[in-house]
Amino acid sequence: MADSILVIVEQREGKLNRVSWETLTAGQALAAETGWTLEAAVAGSGVTNLANEIAGKKVAKVYALESPKLEPYTPDAFAAGLKQFIASKQPRLVLMPHTYQVRDFVPKLTTAMERTAISDCIGYKKDGARLLFTRQMFQGKLAADVSFTCDAPWFVTFQNGAFRADKVEAGSAAAPVETVNVEIADGIIRNKPQEVFKEAKQAVDLTQAEIIVSVGRGIKEQKNIELAKQLAEALGGELAASRPICDSGWLPMDRQIGSSGQTVAPKLYLALGISGAIQHIVGMKGARTIIAINKDSEAPIFEIADYAVVGNLFDIVPPLIEEVKKAKAGA
């Protein structure tokens, strides 16, 4: 067992996923805390350039895990390739971003290695000699400190936004890069992935909106969307929604905020009847000001709100529209 931390970054079509830098920041913090060596790896076909890009950061070494079978991504190839590499290096900690791709192969990888992953973590704590990883539970209503009760390697995935990408430290000199050709046996890849595509041209680019009024389940019925729309119009903002609203077809999918929709950072995000499930929060927590109106005083959205109103949105929004109109008329 090596006293090392391995960060596996994510790339797609030759580009590093931004959250990779966040995971690297987490790795650097953990390395400073534990005194363990920090290494990084990128898997794919023709990923030396990406490995070189990472080697500019403060890491001891970067591995380019190469195989033509790693492109396009399949869980079978990734689990096989990474198992081989991790088994040979035996790091104590393996860190990855909690992306859709990582969610797809990590449980397979850890099961094949008779290990486990503490998934979707938002931080870590040092408790004497051991490490605890903090993750949200019950849709963010509670948090848990979780420990490993098995042998290393310990696998941890971090939630999008848990660490700051811009805090990743540069190295004093470029770290060495080693190419490792992983052997992936013929016939183990069972899925045949087709091209990645976007459903429809996005009609609305919410990322450019300065003001967003967003509705969640608390809006209750489709006809009530009109109320939120009136508020958005009064404020001169865009209307958006959490996933269940778009799933129900009450608003088109291109107005969805969250991990499966758009990620926004407006000046004002006004959340109406949104409880604040993790999947939604990752898409809007970068907003400069968050106002939340929800009848459930325990709704996780209040954890990140700047201004909170516990109450019935149907009572509060109509007078709010009037006051906004008055203010605009007076200005």
Partner: protein, 256 residues
């Protein structure tokens, strides 16, 4: 097609949660409901059966109360149910839950297994994929569409930020289903009546114990998260709150 749907009972979305005395789990005296993505997984299985015929079997692990999830599934049209009944199942990690399921279905032959993409309580997003690996099956996650093809199935995977991908895969296979893949049906009165006579197999902890190991991860402490923001709560009658909000919008947020 013979389809197994793994389902879970979780606390209701709006249920106020209280911590137990040791601060390691919630007090169990809350209202429960079916894990939402699992409801979509069941609906998809029922639709596949309607198209291609076959059988839909539902499985859950949990104490007696968890049976409600299976009863509802049977009322909606599932053919039979498997209940791993014990309080101990609640505290199993994802890996052990998958092991318990694998042991409980070892004499069955399914073409497909569906699970929700994650649970609303733990939110591991792991049990389904672990189960696929234990069975040696291919899997695909966060699925928004399933079509039968000559050699197997073609599924539509949701990727991040509005991207999708079709994947062709052989059977048997395990799929984790995304919420919103379909429109949920309600149970009919006749369905509810018929459910009473549908088979429900109970599996005791002892029957699957040998397949389960020690948990590989442990919740040391469960707690109400500390606020990272200084939230200002605006109170009063609606008209007054509206005035206060507009004042903030004008003077603090500066968007008016």
């Amino acid at each position: 097609m013979k389809i197994l749907v793994c389902m879970k009972q979780v606390p209701q979305k709006d249920a106020p949660l209280k911590l137990n005395e040791s601060g390691t789990w919630i007090r169990e005296d809350v209202s429960y409901e079916v894990n939402e993505p699992d409801a979509f997984a069941l609906e998809e299985a029922l639709r596949q059966k309607e198209k291609h015929s076959g059988e839909v079997v539902v499985i859950t692990a949990g104490p007696a109360r968890a049976q409600q999830v299976l009863r509802e599934a049977l009322a909606k049209g599932a053919d039979r149910a498997i209940h791993l009944e014990d309080n101990a199942f609640v505290s199993l990690d994802a890996s052990n839950t998958a092991r318990a399921f694998a042991a409980a279905i070892k004499d069955e032959k399914f073409d497909l297994i569906f699970t929700g993409l994650q649970s609303d309580d733990y939110g591991y997003a792991q049990t389904g994929v672990v189960l696929a690996e234990l069975l040696g099956w291919p899997h695909a996650t966060i699925i928004m569409q399933i079509e039968k093809t000559d050699g197997g199935i073609r599924v539509k995977r949701e990727l991040e930020a509005g991207y999708f991908q079709f994947v062709d895969m052989p059977l048997p296979a395990l799929l984790t289903i995304q919420s919103g893949i379909n429109k949920l049906r309600y149970a009919t009165l006749i369905g509810i009546k018929q459910a009473k006579n549908k088979p429900m197999r109970k599996v005791m902890l002892a029957e699957v114990q040998s397949a389960i190991g020690a948990n590989m991860q442990k919740i040391e402490r469960l707690y109400v998260p500390q606020k990272t923001k200084n939230t200002e709560f605006l109170e009063g009658p609606p008209a007054e709150v509206a005035k206060k909000l507009v004042e903030k919008l004008r003077n603090e947020v500066r968007v008016l």
